[in-house]
Symmetry: C2
DNA sequence: GCCATCCGGATGCAGTTGCATCCACCATGC
DNA sequence: GCATGGTGGATGCAACTGCATCCGGATGGC
């Protein structure tokens, strides 16, 4: 159980961290230069747009984005303060709320996507063929599978 | 220049961020549970051990780890406060300093590695064959290549 | 020698994260 | 109906990050 992993695994691990650091840094920097908010805003708004008028409960959004509860709570604070999101009480559950994206939020998504996509293309796509990207995506997916069961 | 990247690239991008988040989170959590400091400490000490008695200048360490200058400055503060690293003035350059790892720092590296390696194995190795890990490492390496030159 | 500039490194401050805890409300047993 | 425990979400506080700036020493022009 505590066997040392093969070199290739350690190499992949190191590169995973570094590549993500590098590409994310470059992409976020581009977006910031263009005057856009952090990517977390984009992700949250994207989920909310996908949910449509029904909206999402904060805990659902928390599950969809891999984000800690307190962290999401404060992200929603900021999104609401900026007018991208509306918090409404739930009829069904007095403790909870429903989050829905506003027009303004949709507009932000629409404005960000071209810049975001271009940045992804520049910092990721430019380094890979389409086939390589597909292979990479498939391999990374393996890492997202549920953790290996203890035999 | 602002072409939308193909779906496979976007898919790889999303999975890159999520996979790193997931695996890093799991690995760091394991190390923390075992009472160890954050991985940044390990990385820094590893570089310093590699440099041996000659040590490293902070700006060299900054380059080796992808870490902002002010950030490194404070990481070194913490490492020094914990006795893992020694700051000494440079004879060659009055502004600078040389960082060297202490016995205690080496001991920490030695203590952390088994736990770290086991965590990598569990959260990364368990999901991939060795060949897949090698492919993944190679693909991620492409992302670390210098940015594409503007034609 | 003297000045302007640059570079290595530190630091004050604001914004963000992690952790622990708290509050309110739901659900269950009785 | 009321105590008990669980769940959704917020928040005080300490740690950490990013940014801008600052300081002191090096370097180059003259």
């Amino acid at each position: 159980m505590t066997a040392i992993p093969p070199d290739a695994v350690v190499a992949a691990w190191v590169r995973l961290v570094r590549a993500r650091h590098r590409v994310l840094g470059a992409v976020e920097a581009e977006l910031k230069r263009a005057g856009f908010p952090p990517l977390a805003w984009y992700d949250a708004l994207l989920e909310l747009r996908r949910a449509g008028e029904a909206g999402l409960r904060p805990y659902q959004l928390e599950g969809a984005m891999l984000l800690a509860q307190y962290n999401l709570s404060r992200l929603v604070d900021r999104l609401a303060a900026a007018g991208h999101v509306v918090r409404a009480p739930t009829p069904a559950d007095g403790r909870g709320q429903v989050l829905t994206i506003t027009e303004r939020g949709c507009a932000l998504l629409a404005a960000m996507w071209p810049a975001y996509a271009a940045a992804i293309g520049r910092h990721m796509g430019a380094h890979l063929t389409e086939a390589e990207a597909a292979t990479l995506a498939a391999l990374l997916d393996r890492l997202l599978a549920p953790p290996a069961e203890p035999g």
